[in-house]
């Protein structure tokens, strides 16, 4: 056995961590910085995946596209379209508290799944799109995986650096001000709805990017790949566990959650089938429980959000200060 084949699985795992890292940073912009509850991460992921698939795959009969465009065009297209979709949704929902956004985004994700399932001319419906190219996909398996890991890691790094720069800039402080006290920020003359919309679109675009990265890894996409549970929920756990508002934290969350999720499957698959089934669903139960435990014992996450010039203790979400409580102006 060559060393390179032994590395295959960790490499595969790491690629997924990079993809989920992208999703987590996208959600972190929305939730961590702007307090927006997007429960339809899977929908934006799917938009990105399908966009890139249509743009880059070779021509095929009976569906849109097959434009055979290069990989980077697919990525950019995925981001653009995901952002574009976020715009009207944000316009409608961001006026209200985030509960409304949550239910609407659930609907959006479901709607996108239905479109992907039903519109033959667009997505080849249930059969999905295959033969999607992967950059350097012609190399031997192990090498191709390594190269692709390099690509995803690089893209994640770029996204991280750009978002991080924004976060520590005045923009980031403004976003946090809006999140923590909307009226105060408004009184200071900040255009609250516009800024929120900005964060929502930016985050969604990153989710689209992650979708594109996934589709070039899997090389095929069918509507069933848009599993709301798997994508949306895991990303939420990653963000909350790692520490919302802290990009490094959510990346750590992505690593921890995905490693647990993926490797635990190896264990459950070893069980006899009657227990394997139960163990499978038990695994989801544990993920749900993990969320509850984090919210209970460390709501700020493993790596809490860092705020400058302010002692950390006061900023714990868990110790909601009395001022915001009294005004009733809670994270919106």
């Amino acid at each position: 056995m060559e060393w390179i084949t032994v590395l295959n699985y960790p490499v595969y795992l790491a690629i997924f961590i990079c993809i989920y890292g992208c999703l987590a940073i996208g959600l972190n912009i929305q939730w961590g910085y702007a307090g927006l509850f997007n429960a339809g991460v899977a929908g934006f992921f799917a938009i990105g995946a399908y966009t890139s698939a249509i743009l880059t795959s070779p021509w095929a009969e009976g569906r849109l596209g097959g434009f055979d465009l290069p990989f980077p065009v697919g990525l950019v297209g995925a981001m653009l379209l995901a952002g574009l979709l976020a715009w009207p949704i944000g316009k409608i929902c961001l006026r209200f508290r985030s509960d409304y956004l949550a239910i609407v985004t659930i609907g959006v994700a479901e709607g996108i799944r239905l479109v992907a399932r039903s519109e033959e001319w667009l997505t080849n419906s249930a059969r999905g799109i295959s033969a999607i190219p992967r950059p350097f996909g012609d190399l031997p398996y192990a090498k191709a995986q390594l190269v692709y890991l390099g690509i995803t890691a690089l893209i994640l790094l770029v996204a991280y650096v750009l978002v991080q720069r924004q976060a520590v800039s005045p923009w980031g402080r403004m976003m946090r001000a809006i999140r923590d006290n909307e009226s105060a920020a408004q009184a200071m003359g900040k255009d609250v709805p516009y800024r929120r919309l900005e964060a929502f679109i930016l985050g969604s675009a990153l989710m689209g990017l992650a979708g594109a990265l996934y589709v070039h890894l899997a090389r095929t996409i069918t509507p069933d790949a848009i599993d709301p549970m798997l994508i949306t929920f895991l990303v939420w756990i990653m963000v909350i566990l790692g520490g919302s508002g802290n990009n490094r934290g959510v990346l750590l969350g992505a690593i921890i959650v995905w490693v647990i999720w993926s490797t635990s499957e190896i264990v459950t698959d070893q069980l006899p089938s009657e227990y394997a089934l139960k163990a499978k669903y038990g695994r989801m139960f544990l993920i749900g429980l993990l969320l509850q435990l984090v919210l209970r014992f460390r709501p700020e996450g493993i790596l809490p959000e860092k705020l400058r010039k302010e002692p950390r203790e006061e900023r714990r979400v868990g110790e909601q200060d009395s001022v915001t409580q009294a005004t009733g102006n809670i994270i919106n």
Partner: protein, 288 residues
């Protein structure tokens, strides 16, 4: 005309009353505790399967299992609140909403572990509809409607005549004021959960009775149930009922104009329209 009533209007009303039962719970939780409770659908699944457990274990008819399941789910809902939501009360409300997603997942996997993922039903066999002057109603559809009406009337009496019902309404209108007037916060919350959980179990039960029991059944009605609550106006019981019926009927009628695949999207369409043009809902509820 008759076929319109039989195949579109009547199923719509039955489905709508199922949504309405769930929507009442959502609207109560929304109004009194001020967060969207996203585990509501899966709580309905749980209630439906509890009823199944009663029918199989005790060997009783599903209709006897119903009150037991309603009570059990109500108590269970209090337990969920104590375990997972109570300690989040001082935090931003949206955190509780997130927690409710986790609870939804846990409830669903619990059902999947215990009862498996296959479709089952309360009773073997089929019920053919009875013919009333050309209108065809199945007995369990009739029961669904009657019990839903009875539950709603009972709830209405409770909220308007009973001391605790009034306290719940006071909490919903203005929690601070209610607190100052000596309303016991914790008791009202527990009461709300009993009512919301019980109604939720009833909606899950009737969904299972009219169709089949499956582990994702509740999650699939979450969106229409929320749409119904928001359409009616958050905090308005009568709104939730009307909203539920409108969503239910609209869903069934939608196949006349849109392809069947997109049927489930009609509730979503209604939700968007309400949010765009009348966020307070038909009955001028709260907007959070």
């Amino acid at each position: 005309m008759l076929s319109f009533v039989n195949f579109f209007l009547l199923p719509g009303i039955v489905q709508g009353s199922i949504y309405a039962l769930g929507a009442i719970g959502i609207t109560l939780v929304f109004a009194i505790m001020r967060y969207g409770h996203f585990a509501h659908g899966d709580l309905a699944t749980f209630g439906a399967f509890i009823a199944l457990a009663f029918t199989t274990m005790l060997g009783v008819s599903p209709y006897i299992a119903l009150p037991l399941a309603v009570l059990a789910t109500g108590v269970f809902a209090i337990g969920i609140d104590r375990l997972f939501y109570a300690h989040l009360r001082t935090m931003p409300k949206i955190i509780t909403t997130i927690a409710s997603f986790g609870v939804a997942l846990m409830l669903r996997s619990f059902v999947q572990v215990v009862w498996g993922v296959n479709t089952t039903s309360y009773a073997r066999g089929i019920t053919r509809p009875e013919n009333w002057f050309g209108i065809r109603v199945k007995s369990h559809e009739l029961v669904t409607l009657l019990v839903a009406i009875a539950l709603v009337v009972a709830l209405h009496l409770f909220l308007t005549r009973n001391k605790w019902g009034k306290a719940m309404r006071a909490m919903s209108d203005n929690p601070d004021l209610a607190l100052l007037s000596g309303v016991d916060n914790n008791k009202v919350i527990a009461l709300t959960w009993i009512v919301a959980g019980g109604l939720c179990a009833a909606s899950g039960f009737f969904l299972g009775l009219n169709t089949e029991l499956k582990s994702l059944m509740g999650w699939n009605i979450l969106l229409p149930t929320f749409a119904a609550a928001i359409l009616g106006g958050v905090g308005r019981i009568e709104g939730a009922i009307v909203g539920g019926l409108i969503v239910g009927i609209a869903e069934e009628l939608s196949v006349l104009v849109i392809p069947g695949e997109y049927k489930v999207m009609s509730a979503f369409g209604i939700l968007l329209l309400v949010l765009l043009f009348r966020p307070t809902g038909l009955f001028r509820g709260k907007v959070l």
